[in-house]
């Protein structure tokens, strides 16, 4: 550990320090607004500082983390998403009773854990990052202590995430026992060198895949998703859907491209089955839901399936496709849950279909933004989701994964059905005789966040060139 490697870690240190400072501030005096602003500025500074290591990347810092442009890109994405989640949380928490300040401490710690995952090249940093992220998420999910559903979701998440962590640990132990190393690169080398792959090694990888599959919420490890999405406070749901999954996906992509999943039949087959099952299960079950948060939960399962198609397509185009798709998915998902957040009242989150019926008349802008987000999820032009889906399909076609691509397309058509269902509800009139649900006042922060997300969505959808350039630069060594 030298002074140079310390400069590489500045962004991470700033986020960690911000969480400590916030904690200290809370112990002196509780002030929601001050804590909120402190959090935002900490994240902004950390994001700005990402340019510092960008120039000297790639560089190893100890054996645990590799600060390369890949890691910095995803770290930036995570910090930006956390910034948005924090901005959405402020008006949401203001409406509710109880202490709000600790929320931001947890959020910062979770972001730190997630960003460590993107840079991890060692089992130890993988596990530390993952647990830092997950433990904060238990508390965040159950943050609204007066709500039964929130607590239920928290407990459910705790139990399942703990089980999946156990799987990962066991898997790591098996791999270590076989190969005697915990560094990704060395694992790849020794696994390739070994003439016969013993059962323990394959079992070890399989258990790691299972554990990570839980975090990604891909089928068949998706059971917790709808309940947690439904029960968690809306901003936390946004965080789980984007930061938590995005970070783990970045890790999976790095881990399995170092280990070369394409050269390993068994692992490739496992991922293919998972991708197909996630696409179909996510979309088909979403058709049966009436709760908007649950629909979005199942939709996110299917989106992870789409991402896996890009992941399975090898090559630099695939890495770029994943990066673009994840960015588009972050913007879209944050926007969609942002709408859910700003429509939530003091008593409950806006998750029933009735909350959205006729919204276009009462809140034309919010309805318009939600429509744009849903179209983006469905991959319709003018939105970021379109270019993302295009990229994923391109990566699949380039690698000749025709079966997966055709399944993806069938699923896009199925998916349209439930996105359109919500959109139609937005524009129909409230039921005969029924009063339109009163809509809470739009806060200034909420409005600003939604407006900027939708501008970003359109910009990425119409003029994606700059982002593609950035991604190409960051993925070139990958």
């Amino acid at each position: 550990m030298t002074a140079k490697s310390l400069t590489l870690l500045w962004p991470y240190i700033v986020v960690a320090a911000t969480s400590v400072i916030v904690m200290l501030v809370i112990s002196v005096r509780r002030n929601h607004a001050a804590v909120f602003l402190l959090t935002l500025s900490g994240l902004a500074v950390a994001t700005a500082l990402l340019f510092l290591p960008y120039l000297s990347a790639p560089a190893m810092v100890t054996k645990l983390v590799l600060i390369d442009r890949y890691a910095l890109f995803y770290t930036g994405l995570i910090f930006a998403a956390t910034f948005i989640v924090a901005a959405l949380s402020y008006p949401y928490l203001e409406l509710r009773d109880g202490d709000h300040e600790e929320f931001y401490v947890l959020l910062l710690i979770a972001a730190l854990g997630a960003s460590v995952l993107t840079a991890s090249v060692h089992f130890a940093s993988l596990f530390l990052g993952l647990e830092t992220l997950t433990v904060s998420l238990y508390a965040l999910t159950a943050y609204l202590r007066s709500s039964d559903r929130s607590i239920e979701a928290g407990v459910k998440y705790l139990i399942l995430a703990a089980v999946s962590s156990a799987f990962i640990l066991f898997g790591m132990a098996l791999v270590y026992a076989e190969l005697g190393t915990m560094e990704f690169a060395a694992i790849a080398e020794r696994a390739a060198g070994a003439e016969v792959h013993g059962l323990p090694l394959t079992a070890g990888f399989a258990m790691i895949i299972i554990g990570l599959g839980f975090k990604l919420a891909v089928v068949p490890f998706h059971m917790w998703t709808p309940d947690v999405y439904e029960g968690a406070p809306a901003p936390v749901t946004a965080f789980v859907a984007t930061v938590s999954k995005g970070a783990v996906f970045a890790l999976v992509l790095r881990l399995f491209s170092i280990i070369d999943v394409h050269g390993r039949g068994a692992e490739f087959l496992i991922f293919t089955v998972i991708a197909v099952a996630s696409m179909f299960t996510g979309n088909l079950l979403a058709l049966l839901q009436n709760n908007v948060k649950r629909i979005l939960a199942y939709s996110s399962i299917s989106h992870l399936g789409y991402l896996l198609v890009a992941f399975l397509a090898s090559g630099s185009l695939a890495a770029a496709a994943v990066a673009f798709y994840l960015t588009a998915y972050f913007v879209t998902t944050l926007g969609a849950f942002g709408v859910v957040t700003v429509l939530s009242t003091k008593e409950r989150d806006a998750d029933s279909m009735d909350d959205y019926r006729g919204l276009a008349r009462q809140r034309p802008w919010v309805a318009g933004i939600f429509t744009a987000m849903l179209f983006s999820l469905a991959g319709i032009p003018l939105t970021a989701g379109f270019v993302g889906k295009f990229y994923v399909v391109a990566a699949g076609v380039d690698s000749g994964l025709w079966l997966l691509v055709v399944i993806l397309i069938i699923n896009s058509a199925i998916g349209l059905f439930y996105y359109l269902r919500i959109i139609i509800a937005l524009y129909t009139n409230p039921k005969e005789g029924g009063q339109p649900t009163p809509v809470p006042k739009l806060s200034r922060t909420g409005g600003a966040v939604l407006a900027s997300l939708s501008l970003l969505l359109l910009w990425l959808g119409v003029y994606p060139g700059p982002l593609i350039d950035l991604i190409k630069k960051t993925m070139q060594n990958f």
Binding site: I380, F386, F390, A394, I410, L420, G465, D469
Partner: protein, 503 residues
């Protein structure tokens, strides 16, 4: 730049109609009309400058412009216009203006948003007719769906939700298959030349194995056949046409169906000449089935709007037949039929809309005897019923005649069966006249006849359809250079065409 403006003007008009027209529907209507008129001026200007001339710049293109868009992917903002595009752009703007006019009193709820959607759909369609970059084409192709979906799902009739779902999912699924083919072509071309590009003019020369070409062609074909619509993927059409508001039906029948035919002419035949030749017999069977099936089902309908919708299936069968018969005469006929069908069916939908506005039903059992009540409306109805049955003097006759005489060369049985479709067309068209306009009056005693606006609309449409029938040469000449550039035409004009031969 003029091509970009043709697309942008409706976009701006739509935004203005929405923002300024909130709560003031008359303003929204005038804004839309004004901007479409501006577009029309541009189109007429292009026509007067270029019509009938072969391409001056490169190949058949009259106007050609290319801006960088996403160079990282090889996608550019490449628009170009040849005679075929020009004709269809003209049709788009013409029907666009009429659809604003025909919703003047029909749409009262959220008129600003309605016109926004209307103009954005038109803009997407205009883009489809001019895009020469496959990425851009796909972009516009999808883009025109969304506002159309809103037109059906918000302002449609009783069963609008179901119809709009079905419309959107069918076309979107077809579109995604086309996306696969576009990407397949993109990567095949890249492997050959090392250049990533979506540019049509560059992809034209891509060489590939016959099997690959066939599959890629099939992806495009399915997407366009859904739009066209061809049997058996036409089932979205009767629902969507019936449930859409009048303007929506006009645009659907008059323009969206044409994008499918245009795609076949612009992409399927030139990009995959051999594979299209392989496909031709099957496509012609599909076409003839569609002609007869559509006509028979049209005869069985009681809902007037649904009847007109099924006649579209029948008429568009002629277009498909003409395209895959693959000689200059049949292709000219297909283009003529596209335009004539756009005008005549558009007019029929507008008439159905007018009738529905007056007697609040589309059920033919509750009509009858309208001639004595609304003579002007009924006269217009008679004219377009006759146009639809292919009476000489109307544009439809020219189109169908050219298609049949062209397809006679390609296959006599198919031509004979298609000609049966003409007889059936006469039956269902005359049935409309009899059941709606003749007989005992059932719908009250007094109804308002056509207003000045409505009379004007009908007069213009009658003039246009007659002009197409009497003086088809101008339109045919405009489209001819573009059609001549299509490989199958070139092959057919040679004295001894080598089967499936390619340079």
């Amino acid at each position: 730049m003029i091509l970009i403006w043709i697309i942008i003007i409706p976009l701006i008009g739509g935004l203005l109609a929405w923002t300024l027209g909130r709560g003031n529907s008359v303003r929204a209507r005038w804004i839309s009309l004004l901007f479409l008129a501006g577009d029309a001026v541009l189109a007429v200007y292009l026509w007067s400058r270029h019509a009938g001339r072969a391409g001056l710049i490169n190949g058949p293109w009259l106007v050609d412009m290319k801006l960088p868009w996403i160079p990282q992917l090889g996608a550019s903002f490449h628009l170009a216009m040849d005679g075929l595009s020009l004709v269809l752009v003209g049709l788009t703007i013409f029907l666009g203006i009429l659809s604003v006019l025909c919703s003047w009193t029909e749409i009262r709820d959220r008129a600003g948003f309605f016109h926004f959607n209307l103009l954005w759909t038109l803009s997407g369609i205009l883009g489809v007719f001019m895009a020469l970059d496959l990425f851009l084409f796909y972009f516009f192709w999808e883009l025109m769906l969304v506002p159309m979906y809103f037109l059906i799902s918000i302002w449609g009739h009783e069963n609008r939700e179901y119809a709009s779902y079905k419309f959107f999912i069918f076309t979107q699924a077809g579109g995604l298959l086309m996306l696969l083919s576009i990407l397949g072509l993109y990567f095949i071309h890249e492997r050959d030349t090392g250049v990533y590009t979506f540019d049509y003019t560059l992809l034209l020369g891509a060489s590939m194995s016959p099997a690959a070409a066939f599959w890629l062609m099939l992806g495009f074909f399915v997407a366009f056949a859904v739009k066209l619509p061809a049997i058996p993927i036409h089932t979205w059409l009767p629902d969507a046409h019936t449930e859409a508001p009048t303007a929506g039906s006009v645009i659907l029948a008059g323009l969206l169906l044409k994008t499918g035919a245009y795609g076949l002419l612009r992409f399927v035949l030139p990009l995959f000449p051999d594979a299209s030749a392989t496909m031709a017999p099957a496509a012609m069977v599909i076409a003839v089935t569609g002609i007869i099936y559509g006509a028979v089902l049209a005869f069985g309908q009681n809902d007037l709007k649904r009847l007109v919708a099924y006649t579209s299936v029948s008429h568009m069968g002629f277009v498909l037949l003409g395209i895959f018969a693959g000689n200059l005469i049949s292709l000219s006929g297909a283009v003529m039929q596209m335009v004539a069908h756009g005008v005549s069916t558009g007019a029929l939908f507008i008439l159905v809309g007018m009738i529905q506005e007056r007697i609040h039903t589309r059920d033919m059992d509750r009509m009858g005897g309208l001639w004595s009540l609304v003579p002007r409306l009924s006269a217009a109805g008679l004219v377009f019923a006759l146009a639809s049955l292919g009476l000489p003097g109307f544009g439809n006759f020219v189109g169908e005649f050219l298609v049949l005489s062209g397809s006679y060369r390609a296959g006599i049985p198919a031509t004979a069966l298609a000609a049966v479709g003409l007889v059936l067309a006469a039956i269902y068209s005359l049935r409309i006249v009899q059941r709606v306009f003749h007989g005992q009056a059932k719908a009250g005693t007094t109804l308002a006849d056509l207003s000045t606006r409505e009379t004007g609309m009908m007069a213009i449409m009658i003039v246009v359809i007659l002009w197409l029938g009497m003086f088809p040469q101008l339109l045919l000449k405009t489209a001819e250079p573009a059609l001549n550039a299509i490989p199958c035409c070139v092959a057919a004009e040679q004295p001894a065409p080598v089967k499936g031969g390619r340079k």
